[in-house]
């Protein structure tokens, strides 16, 4: 209150308007300038436009994954709106009399009939429907790949934890949205999926049958589920998804985009190209590329030809019934969970064989992903802002964990096709299922270990490159008959990319008791943290330091006194050709060397 008084003291109310101007900005006139002036005087939009148009985005192919997701969202919204003009979300039944002969005379719901009409009768309707379906699938794939990029490069670290969680919620809602959209045509495949979904709900303790009866408006299938799914699919979930997406993209603007490590790129800047004109053209153009490719796929590759499946009939089913692929992992979990997980206790039925895979799996997995950034920042104790991304190899444990999660997902996904695998490979489905049960536990462990080793090896390769330069393939013989391969040292820009990372070191738990013998309240948390820290960072490769590089160059010449002479002789022999250092193959690394082969093993963690 007081500040306001100070600012305005001595000024009349009229004087407050003294700054106002009614004149248009000079220059740059014309119709556009006039409209811009009109809008700006009423909204002050020029400030925002200036802020937005000069925003800088870094270039990298992996940053386009999120873009693909964004554009696919726009495409599904456009095509989905088109579809609502013809789709009839009703389960009222009537007999088909349309142009498609094989279905004539068959009783079907209006939902199915209108989908057949969109596909076979409405001109261009099938194209819109298939763009919608393909684009939804591309949306989900792009979200998954975008998540992988964010995870493996550590882009979820401070200050982007909130956006990681918004992204996770989005990815989960998109799965639900996709499942419901797939169910709307009321064909025999999707109807079977909805029936299974009702079975999932029934497995929920205490309230399961109530949830199912409320959602379906009674027993399955009833006549309410398609209209209700329709409202959820076109109104409720899109509103939430668009809202969360907007928050997601605003936070990207606020945080400014992350960038890969490289010369001149720091946590304090962002190096790239401005939105106007470069990114407007590139990103705007990329929208048309995504839309165009989706339209080409939709025009050439049939998806979900429901007129060939036929309408849903409660007693009908086809062999090889599977959900749309993005629900495959949950379906696979259902196929792997053994029946003994269902039991009767206290007079009630507990169906963990269904509940674990169908109800609990997704919340558990998503919660684990959601807490990961906080666990990692707790383990490292790192509270700084990070805008330069990690190269995945430089964080072997995180990369290993991520790959283990992907392996877990892949086994579940494979299990959803256990019947197809059995048929194609002529194997017993029981054996395949049992094998997959073992793999579900074993594969993540193996994949974690292998990935971590590969990362460490790649880091060693980077060190090797920095210390000894690139192999040139030029073999040089000295006067004494020794052979060397000439190595070309990296220039400082290439080198910076390989040495600029930071290797976290494990932390030790502080003393559990203080000098008075009083046990610290956080002792057990500290111990856990130290153990986790060991797990994360015990095996690590540190970046090369200038001293190590100097030492490596020095060791390269086995005989110090001779070295300059050799170099001089070589320069004479190949003038202008030899610009690198000499390295004597296996001899160059001595046992006590920082990078001696004998010490390369670090498997004893």
């Amino acid at each position: 209150m007081t500040t306001l008084n100070e600012d305005t003291s001595g000024r009349s109310a009229d004087a407050l308007r003294a700054d106002d101007t009614t004149e248009a900005p000079t220059g740059n006139g014309g119709a556009i300038g006039g409209v811009a002036n009109w809008v700006d005087e009423r909204t002050g939009a020029a400030k925002g436009v200036r802020f937005l148009m000069k925003k800088v985005f870094p270039d990298h192919w992996s940053f386009m994954l999120g873009e693909i997701a964004m554009y696919s969202l726009i495409i599904v919204l456009i095509t989905g709106t088109f579809l609502t003009f013809w789709f009839v979300p009703s389960m009222s039944e009537s007999v088909y009399n349309g142009p498609y002969v094989p279905l004539r005379g068959i009783t079907m719901s209006d939902a199915f009939k209108s989908t057949v009409d969109i596909s076979l009768d409405v001109r261009g309707g099938l194209l819109i429907r298939q763009i919608h379906h393909w684009s939804a699938l591309i949306f989900i794939v792009a979200i998954m790949l975008h998540m992988f990029r964010v995870f493996f490069t550590g882009a979820f670290r401070k200050p982007r934890e909130i956006n990681w969680i918004i992204g996770l919620v989005l990815s989960m809602l998109v799965l639900v949205e996709g499942f419901i959209g797939y169910s709307l045509p009321d064909d025999v495949l999707s109807g079977t999926g909805v029936r299974a979904a009702q079975g999932f709900m029934l497995s929920i303790p205490i309230v399961g049958s109530y949830i199912a009866y409320f959602l379906f408006g009674g027993g399955f299938p009833g006549t309410a589920i398609i209209p209700r799914f329709f409202t959820i699919h076109v109104l409720l979930l899109p509103a939430i998804i668009v809202g969360l997406f907007t928050a997601h993209i605003i936070l990207v603007m606020v945080h400014k985009h992350t960038q890969y490590p490289g010369p001149g790129k720091t946590d304090k800047n962002v190096v790239g190209f401005p939105l106007m004109p470069v990114y407007t053209a590139k990103a705007g153009g990329f929208f048309f590329v995504v839309f165009g490719v989706t339209a080409l796929i939709a025009g050439l590759v049939t998806i979900d030809p429901i007129w060939m499946y036929g309408p849903y009939e409660p007693t009908m089913i086809t062999a090889g019934s599977q959900p749309d692929w993005f629900m495959g992992f949950a379906d696979g979990a259902l196929r792997l969970l053994p029946g003994f997980l269902e039991f009767t206790l206290l007079g009630h039925t507990w169906s963990f064989n269904v509940m674990l895979g169908a109800i609990l799996l997704i919340p558990i997995l998503w919660t684990l992903m959601g807490v990961y950034p906080f666990v990692e920042s707790w383990v490292t104790g790192d509270k700084r802002e990070h805008h330069v991304l990690d190269r995945p190899r430089n964080v072997p444990t995180r990369t290993g964990l991520g790959m283990a999660a992907i392996a877990f997902y892949a086994v579940l996904f494979g299990a959803a096709g256990n019947d197809i695998i059995a048929i194609k490979l002529h194997l017993s489905i029981d054996d395949i299922t049992n094998t997959l049960r073992i793999m579900l536990v074993a594969a993540p462990v193996i994949v974690f270990w292998v990935t971590k080793r590969v990362c460490l090896s790649l880091q060693r390769k980077d060190r090797d490159l920095v210390l000894h330069g690139k192999e040139t393939g030029r073999i040089v013989r000295t006067a004494e008959g020794r052979f060397f391969e000439a190595h070309e040292p990296l220039d400082e820009y290439e080198r910076w990319r390989l040495v600029s990372f930071e290797a976290h070191r494990p932390i030790a738990a502080p003393a559990e008791t203080d000098e008075n013998g009083v046990r610290s309240k956080t002792a057990s948390a500290d111990r856990t943290r130290a153990r986790l820290s060991q797990f994360f960072f015990n095996d690590r490769i540190e970046p090369v330091t200038p001293l190590e590089l100097a030492a490596a160059h020095h060791d390269g010449q086995a005989d110090e006194a001779l070295a300059p002479l050799e170099a001089a002789a070589l320069e004479d022999a190949h003038p202008g050709e030899f610009g690198g250092h000499l390295h004597g193959g296996a001899e160059e690394i001595e046992e006590h060397n920082a990078y001696a082969h004998q010490q390369g093993s670090d498997d004893d963690a």
């Binding site: 303790p205 409320f214 153009g285 169906s351 490769i541 200038p546």
Partner: protein, 371 residues
């Protein structure tokens, strides 16, 4: 690079120290590590952005004009494709079928619309990107970042405004308002929630436990087993050894919700060699080796539609639960726990198969209330 070698400086870089004394301060640790000697820094320094490399179009006007023509050509192709889309929309018939390589026979209208729309959009995109990459400025721009945390002054200001606001509302001094407001806000959603949840659907009651087989036909006669989907009754003599019938109860189309009834009452009728049946109950509930079982999987409710004659196994195509028909349809593999319930059948005076009574337990997936 003639730094004297000093072995003590070259500790192993591939570290596996199990006891590290390092504390929380990462930055400090990395500085302590490997102390530099001989005027070498502990870490490499960022060399800064490399020198910008110009493109052909930046200096060569001929190249730039070539790019301009390429971009314009892409945009022109897009326009052409758009025209083709419009032409296809009006010219190609709904029923015209064409044969394409790889894709095979397909609807001409659909493919022509898809390809022309795709090309129309794709060429706009490719043109714009080509334009941006070859002609628009490609010098990197550096934008500074600022810490996201607000300055202390702003934070204190925000806290003060909130505190002043709370003070001004007198909420602290007037607990009566505080508690009644809390109560009202805590409860206001109940009417809306109640309306929604209460009116969405009926309570399950006994719907999950009962099927149409439990009731007799009007007139008290037991329901016959009818073929699905023809709706014709089945004589015992029709059921030859090894044959399979998909069965629904007689009179199902006269019920208010035939689909709901079908879903629960669907039955699979199979004729086995009677001596193969290991369960006495199963034999007794069937007729001469002809047995009827619920077709609804006890896992999540898919129809158990696949019968393998040689092994007498019933397989659910959804999650591959396998039931052994010779052992009272108990689960021999897969995620289901419970056997398929059996329907007790007999033959009526006219030689048709009828159900004596309903299933002795609920059919379909497990649910909480099921004991």
């Amino acid at each position: 690079m003639t730094t004297p070698s000093n072995p003590s400086d070259k500790e192993s870089s591939v570290t596996h120290d199990s006891t590290s004394e390092a504390g929380d301060d990462r930055a400090l640790v990395s500085l302590e590590h490997r102390e530099g000697s001989d005027n070498l820094p502990e870490r490499f320094q960022d060399p800064g952005l490399p020198a910008h490399i110009h493109r052909a179009g930046d200096s060569d006007e001929a190249a730039a004009r070539r790019y301009e023509r390429q971009v314009a050509a892409l945009f022109a192709i897009s326009m052409f494709a758009t025209v083709l889309f419009v032409v296809s929309y009006f010219a190609v018939g709904n029923d015209t079928v064409v044969s394409l390589p790889i894709i095979g026979r397909t609807m001409a209208l659909h493919v022509s619309l898809g390809v022309t729309l795709g090309m129309s959009l794709l060429c706009i995109g490719l043109g714009a990107i080509h334009w941006a990459k070859t002609l628009m400025p490609d010098t990197e721009v550096v934008e500074e970042r600022h810490e996201l945390r607000s300055p202390d002054e702003a934070r204190e200001g925000a806290v003060k405004i909130l505190a002043d606001g709370l003070e001004g509302s007198q909420l602290k001094r007037r607990p009566l308002i505080k508690y009644t407001l809390g109560g009202a806000l805590g409860l206001f959603a109940i009417p809306l929630g109640l309306q929604l949840v209460g009116s969405l659907g009926p309570l399950p009651h006994t719907d999950l436990e009962t099927t149409l087989w439990d009731s007799k036909l009007p007139g008290g006669k037991p329901r016959r087993l009818m073929r699905d989907p023809d709706g014709t009754a089945i004589r015992l003599s029709d059921v030859t050894l090894g044959s399979v019938f998909h069965v629904l109860p007689e009179g199902i189309d006269a019920t208010p919700d035939p689909n709901n009834e079908k879903l629960k009452a669907a039955v699979i009728l199979i004729s086995l060699q009677e001596n193969l049946i290991k369960s006495a109950r199963e034999r007794k509930w069937g007729v001469d080796g002809v047995v009827a079982y619920s077709k609804i999987c006890t896992h999540v409710g898919c129809p158990v539609g696949l019968y393998e004659q040689t092994t007498h196994h019933l397989l659910c195509p959804c999650h591959q639960s396998t039931f052994d028909l010779t052992e009272d349809c108990k689960v021999i593999f897969g995620p289901a726990k419970r056997a398929l319930p059996q329907l007790k059948i007999s033959v009526d005076d006219e030689g048709y198969l009828v159900a004596d009574h309903g299933f002795d337990q609920p059919v379909g997936p497990s649910f909480w209330e099921r004991a």
